[in-house]
């Protein structure tokens, strides 16, 4: 082996970061002008392997700085500081329809980043890298406390930031797949919000009785959070994705108990039977299941189920009655929900009602449905099962990887600013057109 290339040094700083933290990947001491491949490898909890790589050319000092130098080709190209993470894809030969989601957020995601001689595209397992490092990516900061919540029949997990508090609170809802999904709440707690992830579709109550929860379930969650000695009861927000948006808007507008300081609705819609229970809202979508389309790959497109946006006010949450700031996050290529059409209608409704100063819309061309915290892989489609249907389908979420990843990064940053300004800043409710 070339003696000089033995001394190639690879470093990643920080080596232990939060999931939404950027890192700097640096190759040094390479032969100037040499061709090198930087590759990331991760084995996720279910055993599947994911990889990403970029092709680089060392500069005249023998250095490659991923945050400044372009990848010529690979799973990402151009100057992409975090490309090694967001462009991760299942290794060749993997099962189709995979989606990377961490269940155990008390351990880090471990990624091995290595540098190889030449521009390699495959067969990495048989190559010896010149150098390699291991990077940890965490959803939970040290000192964040994870507290399972079963009070009042809830199936939830509360994440408390370190410190005395009191902290502003956050109710965190995911979508139609159900389960108790903790990672976003853990990450938000790492940013200073007491966040409660709530399972409202497959809770212990539902699994045991076969019945769906009602409005009281969410109000109980709100009360539990509000009454916690380390939570500032007057500063509670709600964040929902997909079907979680429907619940968020329902509670924000109609609940007598829940008084939100802010709401974040990602990839969702206000279309729902206004007086409907959770079950009835689900049923409303099911009624329209006939509008499901399939693309050439036989992937299910569900965005038409709520289209056209109704004119009948009893079928839309009355956003004109909202009294707290609302941040809508929309992927314009969302194939699962008509988020963009809904956002337009919401805007019109609020303009008519005179409360559009409360609304901020972030709309991302070519982003899909699953707008999640940044630097994790984009799934354009994946196998999915809602609580209503018994078998898994290949669901088309939409989005093009590069634009979707940029959207995740930008949206997350702005969501944090929005939450901080509304929950920590204590200003009067106002729109955030500067975002």
């Amino acid at each position: 082996m070339d003696r000089k290339q033995c001394c190639v040094k690879l470093s990643v700083q920080p080596s232990r970061g939060l999931m939404d933290e950027k890192f700097i990947v640096l190759v040094q001491n390479a032969l100037p002008g040499s061709q090198l491949t930087i590759r990331a490898l991760h084995q996720c909890e279910d055993g599947h392997s994911w990889e990403a790589f970029g092709h680089y050319t060392a500069d005249t000092t023998g250095t490659i700085d991923v945050s400044e130098d372009p990848s010529i080709r690979g799973t990402y190209s151009g100057v992409e500081q975090m490309g090694l993470l967001w462009s991760l894809r299942p290794i060749p030969g993997s099962k189709p329809g995979l989606r990377m989601r961490k269940k155990n957020i008390q351990t880090p995601m471990e990624v091995t980043i290595s540098v190889y001689q030449g521009h390699q595209t495959e067969g990495f397992a048989d190559l010896v890298p010149l150098s390699g490092v291991v990077v940890e990516r965490w959803y939970m900061a040290p000192g964040v406390r994870r507290i399972p919540v079963t009070e009042g029949g809830l199936t939830a997990t509360l994440f408390l930031p370190s410190g005395p508090g009191p902290f502003p609170g956050l109710l965190d809802l995911w979508g139609g797949g159900g389960q108790l999904v903790e990672y976003r709440a853990a990450l938000l707690a790492s940013h200073g919000f007491a966040s409660m992830a709530i399972d409202y579709l497959t809770s212990k109550f539902t699994m045991e009785t076969g019945k769906m929860v009602d409005n009281q379930y969410f109000e109980t969650a709100y009360r539990v959070l509000q009454q916690h000695p380390q939570v500032c009861g007057s500063k509670i927000a709600m964040i929902g994705l997909s079907f979680g948006t429907s619940m968020t808007l329902k509670m924000a507008i109609y609940s007598e108990v829940i008084k939100l300081s802010a709401a974040v609705c990602i990839s969702g819609s206000h279309v729902q039977p206004v007086e409907g229970s959770v079950e009835e809202i689900m049923g409303f979508f099911q009624k329209n299941a006939g509008k499901t389309r399939f693309n050439e790959k036989n992937e299910a497109i569900w965005r038409d189920l709520l289209l056209p946006i109704p004119t009948d006010p009893s079928l839309k949450a009355d956003v004109g009655r909202l009294q707290c700031p609302l941040l809508l996050v929309v992927g314009e290529d969302d194939q699962n929900w008509p988020a963009q059409e809904s956002a337009l209608d919401i805007k019109e409704m609020m303009a008519r009602a005179g409360n559009s100063h409360l609304l901020t819309v972030l709309s991302y061309p070519n982003a899909g449905h699953l707008i999640e915290p940044p630097y994790t892989p984009h799934a354009r489609s994946s196998t999915f099962k809602t609580v209503e249907i018994q078998e898994k389908v290949m669901c088309l979420w939409g989005g093009q990887t590069v634009e979707h990843s940029r959207a995740q990064e930008d949206a997350w940053k702005k969501i944090l600013v929005f939450l901080r300004e509304n929950l920590y800043g204590g200003r009067n409710p106002t729109s955030f057109s500067h975002l």
Binding site: K9, N29, G132, P142, G165, S190, Y424
Partner: protein
């Protein structure tokens, strides 16, 4: 540091606090929270300000950026760091800041106006850590278990106060982890060829450039510098040569000689993941003696040497490099008015037996000598002069680099860790404290700069 007059009640509170804090070692956050002492909780009516530290899990030599936001304007606050050593002692530092017009503080750019340090010191909360009021005398902070981090709790307190004061209002807190080992670094215990040591290998296939890591006469096996070297891409072997149960002979004398260090060097050369042509040696304090002995022995060609506050020879060595008892010859010991001892004069070149001084002019590789100008344990400046002169006379000035730090003491270690000006040397037949020297701020600056320069020196001579 100002020590206020304390009431008996307060003394009992502190003792109680220490007892509670001794129960919980690093990693147990509730213990730290109890140790905060009397704290008034703010009411749930208004949320607390936001205190952040980035990165929140850092290597010991990485800078952490600490910010406080959503306070009020022109508001006095105290930022406080607290952690427990592995022995259970509480270490603390604090600094006084005032928020600006944007109601925030940023320790990377703001100035402390009082406390454990003053001025703009982004890492002051870490290097200015001191044992808490009421602690045992003569403590030194050294991590034995490098596979776990130090948990340091950073808190934001209302007003300009100190950890030892009674009523304090804690506004916010954040927990940071500080690691000696990066993920993927492998720690391998070495007990072969009569060597007692620990080898750290970086992640990856190798082969790696390597360092032989030698400490001083306090003895034992200190792993933390090697763990950091491996975290920066160098294989590193730290060896114990006295004061370790796995070594032959009584623990208070050095029963191993030159052949021991040569075996250690050889072990690195023979290791399949080490590049045999790229091995350096680093020695601190007495560790400089075997460092120079290896470098001036036929058949051993280290690629570079780093000598920190050590001597060219020793009055303790016999022909094989084994030592006589250190305390057998105390004529050069000097005591201050507290009875603390300075060993400095023992290593003045004129006091060293000529036959023990190595022929430094025979060294063929680059040598970096680091001087703490306030070193009270070793006559560093004078020994640096001897080495420099020897190399100059042999036409080898280009091989010599000297770093000399005013106000720095003997223990120039990895950065952002506290300076011990003195510590407990032994307890039998009676307690003896040794003086290391160094004043906190200049010593911290020396550690920071020296570490950077050490790593650059290693990159230059071991990797290019």
């Amino acid at each position: 540091m100002f020590r206020a007059h304390m009431s008996v009640t307060r003394i009992w509170q502190l003792i109680e606090k220490r007892m509670m804090s001794c129960i919980s070692v690093h990693g147990k956050l509730p213990g730290l929270q109890r140790a905060v002492g009397e704290v008034r909780r703010k009411s749930s009516f208004r949320q607390s300000p936001l205190l952040t530290a980035t990165p929140v899990r850092a290597l010991i030599d990485e800078q952490i950026s600490i910010k406080g936001r959503f306070l009020s304007q022109n508001y006095p606050v105290t930022v406080c760091a607290q952690m427990h050593s592995e022995e259970g002692d509480l270490w603390e530092a604090f600094a006084h800041y005032t928020t600006n017009a944007s109601s925030s503080i940023n320790l990377t750019s703001d100035h402390s106006v009082g406390g454990s340090y003053v001025g703009c010191e982004p890492m002051g909360l870490f290097w200015a850590l001191e044992p808490a009021l009421g602690s045992r005398e003569g403590l030194r902070l050294r991590k034995r278990n490098v596979e776990t981090p130090y948990m340091v709790n950073i808190s934001l307190l209302e007003g300009h106060t100190s950890p030892s004061e009674g009523q304090r209002t804690e506004l916010a807190a954040v927990t940071t982890e500080r690691w000696y080992m990066a993920p993927g670094v492998r720690r391998i215990e070495i007990r072969q060829n009569n060597i007692v040591g620990t080898l750290f290998l970086p992640p990856g296939p190798g082969p790696f450039p390597a360092m032989l890591d030698l400490w001083g006469m306090v003895g034992g096996l200190l792993e933390y510098r090697s763990a950091l070297f491996a975290s920066r891409g160098f294989a590193s072997l730290s060896v114990a040569y006295m004061g370790h149960k796995d070594l032959p002979g009584p623990q208070h004398i050095m029963s191993v000689g030159d052949s021991y260090f040569k075996s250690a060097f050889q072990l690195l050369q023979d290791h399949c993941q080490v590049d045999a042509d790229r091995i350096g040696v680093i020695g601190l304090s007495y560790g400089v003696v075997p460092t120079l002995r290896i470098a001036t022995t036929i058949g051993f060609k280290p690629s570079c040497l780093i000598c920190i506050n050590g001597a060219v020879g020793s009055p303790l060595l016999d022909e094989d490099g084994k030592s006589k008892m250190f305390e057998s010859d105390q004529k050069h010991w000097e005591f201050d008015d507290r009875g603390y001892v300075s060993f400095r004069n023992v290593s003045l070149p004129d006091n060293l037996p000529p036959e023990s001084k190595r022929k430094v002019e025979n060294i063929t590789c680059p040598l970096m000598y680091i001087v703490g100008e306030d070193d009270l344990c070793t006559a560093s400046t004078e020994n640096a002069d001897v080495i420099e002169e020897a190399l100059r006379s042999a036409g080898k000035s280009h091989q010599f680099t000297r770093l000399s730090y005013p106000g720095a003491g003997h223990l120039i270690e990895p950065p952002y860790t506290p300076c011990s000006r003195a510590s407990l040397w032994k307890t039998k037949p009676e307690k003896l404290f040794t003086l290391w020297g160094g004043h906190p701020a200049p010593h911290a600056a020396a550690q920071e700069d020296a570490w950077k320069r050490i790593l650059e020196f290693m990159e230059t001579h071991l990797r290019r």
